[in-house]
């Protein structure tokens, strides 16, 4: 049995957003990701599952070059967004991150007002022509973040004053406001209670109409609920990638089956 499957065989070529080939990631001397090949589809929710330390977050952070902010981290291989190499020297990571938004594990609203939190991205990228334009973007983003009705009367209040679930939805709305093409989510519900988790999951389901969503999760139920494609990582290898239904009901690799049934993890 090979450690890595050939992702391209399992995925048809329609609407591929990210194409990763032979990706290796090193932290100093130790290798965190080995030969990962994967195609991530547009307007689809892709879930990365696997035990802790298997490299799923590391791989996620390769997709918008957030690993650049870690000095000892080195990425090799080929990652293409719409067939453009995102690690090519002429690519500016700042522009890339405007196209590939990210939501983090812990809600991290800026210590600013709710309005300024959402308007942050549009302002630095000059997306709004005037104040009313910006107001529209803020309202639209908050609606898409399923937060508008709760905060529309207090947009001037600090974002840090919201509850945990509201803060995470604020962060999602903030990422949506810059109009990205792909949304990366790193365990977005791990700090949330079940009700807030349900709200965020519902939101992810709506977001897939406009974006490609990649979500890292520890909860297999969550992966099964929200995603159409699932990738199982183990010890830095992409073990299995395919339709979520298929992976959960009929895994090919014995390691996937062991993880899903709770024997490794």
């Amino acid at each position: 049995m090979k450690d890595n499957l050939e992702g391209r065989k399992l995925v048809d070529q329609m609407d591929v957003k990210f194409k990763a080939r032979d990706v290796q990631v090193f932290y100093g001397e130790s290798q965190a990701i080995k030969d990962v090949n994967v195609d991530i589809l547009d307007k689809t929710v892709t879930a990365f599952i696997g035990p802790s330390g298997c490299g799923k977050t590391t791989f996620l952070r390769c997709l918008n070059r957030m690993n650049d902010t870690i000095p000892i981290c080195r990425v090799e291989g080929d990652i293409r967004l719409d067939d453009e190499d995102i690690y090519a020297p002429e690519v500016d990571p700042v522009q890339l991150r405007a196209r590939v938004g990210m939501v983090f594990q812990k809600p991290n609203p800026f210590p600013k007002s709710i309005y300024d939190n959402i308007a942050y991205g549009p302002r630095i990228h000059g997306l709004a022509r005037n104040k009313s334009d910006l107001d529209d973007i803020v309202e639209d983003s908050l609606r898409r973040g399923a937060l508008w009705d709760e905060v529309k009367d207090r947009l001037g209040e600090p974002g840090t004053g919201l509850s945990g679930g509201q803060q995470q939805r604020l962060c999602i709305a903030r990422a949506v406001a810059t109009a990205p093409e792909v949304l990366l989510m790193d365990e977005p519900c791990s700090a949330l209670d079940p009700i807030a988790t349900a709200q965020v999951e519902e939101l992810i389901d709506e977001l897939k109409q406009n974006f490609s969503v990649v979500i890292v999760t520890h909860s297999m139920q969550q992966a099964a609920r929200v995603s159409q494609k699932t990738a199982f990582f183990h010890l830095g290898n992409l073990v299995e990638y395919g339709d979520t239904d298929h992976i959960f009901t009929n895994p090919v690799d014995p390691r996937t089956e062991s993880y899903i049934t709770g024997r490794i993890g």
Binding site: N64, M66, T69, P71, V94, Q95, L96, R97, A98, R99, G101, M102, V103, F104, K106, N108, P109, F110, P111, K112, Y120, G121, I124, H125, T160, C171, R174, A175, T178
Partner: protein
């Protein structure tokens, strides 16, 4: 017995108590797991009870004994030989010096103990005899002073003997009581913990009481000054012209020109220190690689270790002449704004350099305290590094940075040596930063180091100046602490 020997004795007793107490606790049970506390606690408990009360009594006795003896002996000085309390205290210090001289003579073997007790002014030239052993006296010894000195020696000796007895007794009693208590059920750990608590409380109290003491020592002299000089004049007069006693004439002691100089110099210092310090903090915490940071940060902090008098020399010898060569008469710019090397600008620039590590080090800590999640959030939205710094990190860190700046400001206001050497001595209210001015601190130095009578308003004004500065910097510090504390609440 000398206090040092006493201390050694109770220390030895304490060490013995530690060993014996520990052994007794261990012997009282079959298995040392049955002990209520770890064996060491039993040892510490005995040592503590042997040492602490005895040491406290020793310290208190040594403080009180001279005062008591002073009162007892001063009654022997005839009342017609001194005019007021000040003169009496001068005579009493003579008494102590003669007594010390006699002690020294006895210990050097130049006099027997009996001789020292019975010697009298009629038969011997005390001054010459004491001169032989190296004790210089200002004048011939009066009979009353000699008698007082002999009585002083006698009382001191008796007092010390009683003290030795009492201290050793207390140490022994403490040792004995704690030793008797020691057995497997005794809660030694709780008592030792309580002892540690009191030790910590005592340390904190010393710090607080010292602040209070400094405040009070300023307060009484300040009140004395305002009795001699109207407070309204002091706070509102625009003129500083002390006249020293002897030359006659009333002094003009208005604080405003000095405060103006203080604030002007501090302002220039902050204008230098805040941008440079803040930018270097941003560079060090956000941009610099770990290697650069490891080298640059300690180097920057070396600036904080330079004594301020060295900065003063730098101002006087380098910065002042340099500024004159640019802004002075016939200088590079030919403007002739600057008459001499000492000026507000000279002191302000150098003080600014001194404050850079203050601002940068504090700001660096505060910027580092901004959670990494904030940076990730901003980068994740496609912000550049400088956008992240300007729009997320600095606003998040702002209250803390303001606190750091206020702390630097109170340092600047209290700074003395740089202004003494760099700013000049003329009290003046002018807007020209190239003119010499002076500050509150520099004037405190000059008022107290002159030869003015200590009871005159010209000398006492130093305390009023010090008090004013104390209140201003205290206010600034409280404001800074308030802001910093508010900042902390933001991340809860």
């Amino acid at each position: 017995m000398s206090p040092l020997w006493l201390l050694i004795i109770i220390l030895v007793l304490a060490i013995a108590g530690f060993v014996l107490g520990r052994a007794r606790a261990l012997a009282s049970v079959d298995d040392h797991r049955e002990l209520h506390s770890r064996p060491t606690y039993y040892g510490i408990n005995v040592a503590m009870l042997a040492f602490v009360p005895a040491a406290l009594v020793l310290g208190a006795w040594m403080l009180v004994q001279p005062l008591v003896i002073n009162v007892m002996v001063s009654g022997m000085i005839p009342e017609d030989s001194y005019a007021d309390a000040g003169a009496l205290s001068l005579i009493m210090s003579d008494v102590r010096r003669v007594a010390d001289g006699l002690d020294l003579a006895v210990s050097a073997g130049a006099m027997t103990e009996a001789e020292a007790g019975s010697i009298s002014t009629e038969e011997t030239d005390i001054r010459a005899r004491l001169g032989e052993v190296g004790v210089a006296l200002g004048s011939n010894v009066e009979p009353a002073v000699l008698a007082a000195a002999q009585r002083y020696r006698h009382l001191a000796k008796t007092g010390r003997a009683i003290m030795s007895g009492v201290v050793v007794l207390i140490a022994g009693a403490g040792f004995f009581i704690a030793y008797r208590q020691t057995n497997g059920q005794f809660r030694a750990r709780n008592r030792v913990e309580a002892g540690i608590l009191w030790l910590l409380i005592a340390a904190a109290t010393v710090a607080v009481l010292t602040t209070l003491g400094i405040f009070l020592s300023l307060l009484f002299n300040t009140i004395e000054f305002f009795r001699l000089y109207p407070a309204l004049d002091f706070f509102t007069r625009l003129e500083w012209a002390p006249s020293f006693s002897g030359r006659g004439g009333a002094s003009a002691l208005g604080i405003l020109p000095l405060l103006w100089g203080t604030f002007y110099i501090s302002l220039i210092a902050l204008l230098v220190a805040v941008p440079i310090g803040l930018f270097s903090a941003v560079y060090l915490s956000e941009y610099a690689s770990a290697t650069v940071r490891a080298v640059a940060k300690p180097l920057l902090e070396v600036l904080a270790g330079i004594p301020t008098i060295v900065y003063g020399l730098f101002a006087l010898l380098t910065v002042g002449p340099l500024l004159v060569s640019v802004f002075g008469e016939g200088g590079l710019l030919g403007v002739g704004w600057m008459q001499g090397g000492t000026a507000v600008m000279t002191a302000g620039l150098v003080m600014g350099i001194m404050l850079i590590p203050f601002v940068s080090s504090l700001s660096d800590d505060i910027i580092n305290a901004v959670p990494q999640a904030m940076r990730d959030g901003s980068y994740g939205l496609g912000a550049t590094q400088s956008e992240t710094v300007r729009k997320v990190i600095l606003p998040a860190a702002l209250p803390g940075i303001v606190g750091a700046i206020l702390l630097a400001a109170s340092r600047a206001i209290g700074e003395t040596m740089i202004v003494v050497l760099g700013a000049g001595a003329a009290a003046r209210m002018s807007l020209n930063p190239f003119e010499a001015m002076t500050t509150v601190t520099a004037k405190i130095v000059s008022q107290l180091t002159g030869d003015a009578d200590f009871a005159s308003p010209e000398a006492l004004v130093a305390f009023a100046l010090g008090m004013t500065l104390f209140v201003i910097t205290l206010g600034l510090n409280i404001l800074a602490l308030y802001i910093v504390r508010k900042y902390r609440e933001q991340y809860e």
